[in-house]
Amino acid sequence: MAWMAWTLPTAIFFVVIACLLITFTILAIKFPETPRVGVLRIETTRGDRLFITLLGSAFINLAWLGIVGANQPFALIVCLIYAAAVFRWV
């Protein structure tokens, strides 16, 4: 594993992503759902909304880094608000 040059922050990052995927898989098995149409006028399931959230969060973090450039953890708060909005309305 040494060749992969692991660091603690990146390890935590991937563990969080893995946990999210496992949680949503279990949710999908335990509580099957029907897709719904939201503000984007496209059909989405929970998994789709998770994908939109994660991809959007990556861009929010990059935008924060490029525009604000300091206090990066605050970008996560924006991401959480974004996530809540995506799961509520998309």
Binding site: M4, T7, F14, E43, L55, L62, L65, G66, Q72
Partner: protein, 289 residues
């Protein structure tokens, strides 16, 4: 009779999962690890945090390459899609000539990318290439190694030559699937050629056209081999697209950290655009279905 639910078939997907893990997921994780560190080789890494990301976001280098890349993809799509449709509309519908056309059209698609690059590199040379020599004799100044415009024109014409067939073949397949009854109905209504295209052929081709646009966009957005062989990213940085810049950074300068950060942002842009295309495509299908 009630259907039994059996999810054991998922185990058959395991080999693919393993393969993807080793070919894509693990390398991608390694890239993420590299992007937050600095190295001087010898597999020794030093924590750098988000330094590479902010450095790249502040520098013009990545933005310029992204701009060139977007311009290139937009130009080739704007040429290849209408041209491909036009070719498909004018291809013979059946018989010997249809088969011959199909074979001829597929030929450019079979040529390896670096060979395509070499063909055009020689074709455009002023001393021995047919195109370069002819243009030079006609008094048109053309030198793709020194002139910005000539370099771009060569790359765009090369891509159009290489890939218009793909769009044409897909559009042709879409056209073939339209039942004759539609055309007969149009004839009864005395619809003009344009109306037939606009209200029958275009809507019926929409699905395959979206696939063609997605494929062409992805391929042109990741283009490396052909411009590398023809112009090497020059003159200056005029044709340094994202992948060429990335390779320069990662292998030329051996800046693994910045190159990893660059790759991640490149990947995110591709992921976003692919997702948009995919969503539009599946929604179109559903509406049609």
């Amino acid at each position: 009779m009630e259907k039994t639910v059996n999810q054991k078939a998922w185990f058959l997907v395991l080999p693919v999962l393993l393969l993807v893990a080793f070919s894509a997921v693990i390398p991608l994780m390694t890239v993420v690890n590299y992007s937050v560190q600095d190295t001087f080789g010898n597999n020794q890494f030093f924590w750098a945090g988000l330094e590479w990301f902010s450095e790249l976001l502040d520098s013009d280098r990545m933005w310029d390459a992204l701009g060139r890349q977007m311009a290139f993809s937009a130009i080739i799509l704007a040429i290849e899609v209408p041209l491909g449709i036009f070719v498909a509309l004018n291809m013979p519908k059946k018989g010997f000539w249809a088969s011959l056309c199909l074979v001829l059209m597929s030929l450019p698609l079979l040529i390896p990318w670096n060979v395509v690059g070499t063909i055009w590199q020689i074709f455009g040379r002023v001393d021995i290439g047919l195109l370069g020599y002819t243009l030079d004799k006609l008094g048109i100044s053309y030198n793709y190694t020194q002139d910005f415009f000539a370099a771009w024109a060569t790359l765009i014409v090369m891509d159009v030559w290489h890939w218009t067939s793909l769009v044409a073949l897909l559009a042709y397949a879409g056209l073939q699937s339209i039942p004759d009854a539609y055309y007969q109905a149009a004839k009864i209504d005395q619809a003009s050629r344009w109306k037939v295209f606009r209200f029958i052929e275009l809507p019926k081709m929409m699905g395959v056209l979206m696939i063609a646009i997605l494929l062409r966009f992805m391929d042109s957005f990741m283009i490396y081999t052909e411009p590398f062989v023809v112009t090497g990213g020059g003159p200056g940085n005029a044709t340094t697209f994202l992948s060429i810049d990335l390779v320069k950074m990662a292998l030329g300068q051996f800046d693994l950290g910045p190159a990893a950060a660059f790759s991640i942002m490149y990947f995110l842009v591709i992921l976003l655009i692919s997702w948009v295309f995919y969503t539009v495509m599946t929604n179109l299908d559903k509406r049609e279905g």
